[in-house]
């Protein structure tokens, strides 16, 4: 079992000496930003032009849904959100610290990333995980 929390997804980076961040891979040819490593750009087809970039912490809410029914054991309701990060990259995640009421959530609202324990979820070995969430900025 690991002493410190593991990242919930591969594109969440937890440096030994610094703050967690989300990593994108940006095409040097067309500027498209992807989550996760790749060597070919699916937008412009350029090869080997990808480089890792630190995604920005702020963005705007593009779309969302309030989820009232999920799989057994998953707490509802919660807000599933699609966020366009400032500087490029679109990320999906839970929008927290807001009432899960569609009337009270505005498209285009400014949000920021926050990094917290992955809702207490642990893997088979008992490891804890760190995840990312969005909250109103």
């Amino acid at each position: 079992m690991s002493e410190k929390s593991l990242p919930a997804v591969g594109y969440l980076k937890i440096p030994d000496d610094g703050n967690p961040y989300l990593e994108g891979h940006k095409c040097g040819n067309c500027g498209a930003v992807f989550l996760g490593e790749r060597s070919v750009c699916s937008k412009c087809f350029a090869r080997d032009k990808m480089s890792a970039v630190k995604l920005q912490e702020t963005g705007v809410l593009h779309s969302f849904s309030v989820v009232y029914r999920s799989f057994p054991g998953i707490d509802v309701p919660y807000v599933s959100a699609i966020v366009d990060l400032d500087g490029g990259g679109t990320v999906k995640g839970n929008l927290i610290n807001i009432e899960p009421d569609p009337e009270k959530i505005d498209f285009g609202m400014k949000v920021k990333l926050t990094y917290q324990d992955a809702l207490g979820r642990k893997d088979k070995e008992g490891n804890s995980y760190l995840s990312y969430f969005f909250e109103p900025a």
Partner: protein, 379 residues
């Protein structure tokens, strides 16, 4: 290249058949389609079979084991919710290529109950409810909310689509359900993923549908009376769009396939008399009015408000009851909607008949993404 005709087509009444096997359910529709064509399995030169749940289990061959093992080539296809349309299209292509004159296409699915989809899996911890939701009701809710953001589309407008499709299904004995669901019932049903309530989500059912496709030469030989001409068959995968890898884009893929289908048929959306489109969720149907060019961008809400997409309207959509009420057996859906359109073109749809229907369109979309569109014409 020969024109291709649908000579026989049928579907079973959708329902739940936990005691039957997938091939057994598929075999029933296959025999019905053969009967409708006035042919037998001995006349078939090839078979294309669509099924998702047992994609690695030779469903097509196992159907032949139930209805006649003639040794013909069988191809099994899986392409998410476009699976049935893919099998039909492969059959169409084999005739277009000049390989065969008579081909059988079958789509079949046996579904469990419950939610489809879910984010992640694999190593580590479950991601559902941690990184948003990957359930299908949520994914399509988010796509619908994008339309609300751009055009002000309301919960009530989305709900009206479900009212319409449930109403249509009261006239379709082959639909899973034949019940009216007034607006307040739809809006007050259990909220699954806003704005999709339970009655705005497609019904998981078991079902099968099949078609016999023939070349023009064969159609002339066997009699054109009930034949339906395939004017266009188009398929697209998702082209790159900015958010596609995080938020599946059902719009770009549909628009691409629609453009190709209209071009191949040499017709425009204004020429289409009825449409069976992929209403896996009420939110999805709204998007496809615009994606298929049935109205201008931003006018989808008006289409439902003003009744243009109801039976009797300008372009009736999902008169079968759609996936919302007829049911959505994934692999069968793409052939079941071809059955529906053919039935109208043949003037055999009874109470729900779209009067004077000459040209109809079918559309399915499977996340991942695959879109299949067919344009069919009364002969």
């Amino acid at each position: 290249m020969s024109d291709v005709y649908v000579l026989g087509v049928d579907m079973i009444k959708f329902g739940r058949f936990p005691d039957r096997t997938v091939p057994n359910i598929g075999a029933e529709a296959a025999l019905m389609a053969l009967d409708d064509a006035g042919l037998t399995i001995k006349d078939m030169q090839a078979m294309y079979c669509g099924n998702l749940g047992q994609a690695n289990a030779m469903v097509g061959q196992r159907i032949l084991q139930e209805i006649g093992q003639t040794g013909i080539p069988v191809v099994n296809c899986a392409n998410a919710c476009a699976t049935g349309a893919t099998a039909f299209r492969e059959a169409w292509m084999s005739i277009k290529a000049g390989m065969y004159d008579v081909v059988l296409a079958v789509g079949v699915e046996q579904m469990g109950k419950g939610l489809l989809g879910g984010a992640g899996g694999g190593d580590g911890i479950p991601k559902e409810g941690l990184l948003g939701s990957g359930t299908m009701p949520c994914v399509f809710a988010e796509a619908g909310m994008e339309h609300s953001k751009e055009h002000g589309t309301t919960f009530e407008q989305f709900a009206k689509i479900s009212v319409k499709n449930h109403h249509h299904s009261t006239m379709n004995p082959k639909a899973m359900y034949q019940i009216e669901t007034p607006l307040d019932v739809v809006m007050n049903a259990e909220m699954i993923s806003y704005p999709n309530t339970k009655l705005m989500c497609s019904v998981n059912v078991d079902g099968s549908a099949a078609a016999v496709l023939v070349s023009e030469k064969k159609a002339k030989e066997l009699g054109m009376k009930r034949a339906v001409k395939v004017r266009a068959s188009a398929m697209a995968s998702d082209p790159y769009t900015d958010r596609d890898l995080v938020m599946p884009d059902v719009n770009a893929c549909t628009r691409l396939a629609a453009e190709q289908a209209y071009e191949m048929a040499g017709v425009g959306p204004e020429d289409i008399n009825l449409v069976e489109l992929h209403d896996c969720f009420a939110t999805a149907e709204m998007l496809h009015y615009e994606n298929l060019g049935l109205c201008k961008d931003g006018e989808a809400g008006k289409m439902i408000d003003e009744g243009h997409v109801e039976l009797g309207g300008k372009v009736p959509v999902n008169v079968s009851g759609g996936l919302l009420s007829k049911g959505h057996p994934l692999g069968a859906t793409g052939i079941a909607n071809i059955y529906e359109v053919c039935t109208h073109l043949r003037g055999e749809a009874g109470e729900r008949q779209v009067e004077g229907a000459k040209l109809g369109m079918t559309h399915v979309i499977g996340l991942g993404t695959a879109c299949g569109i067919h344009i069919l014409e009364k002969v």
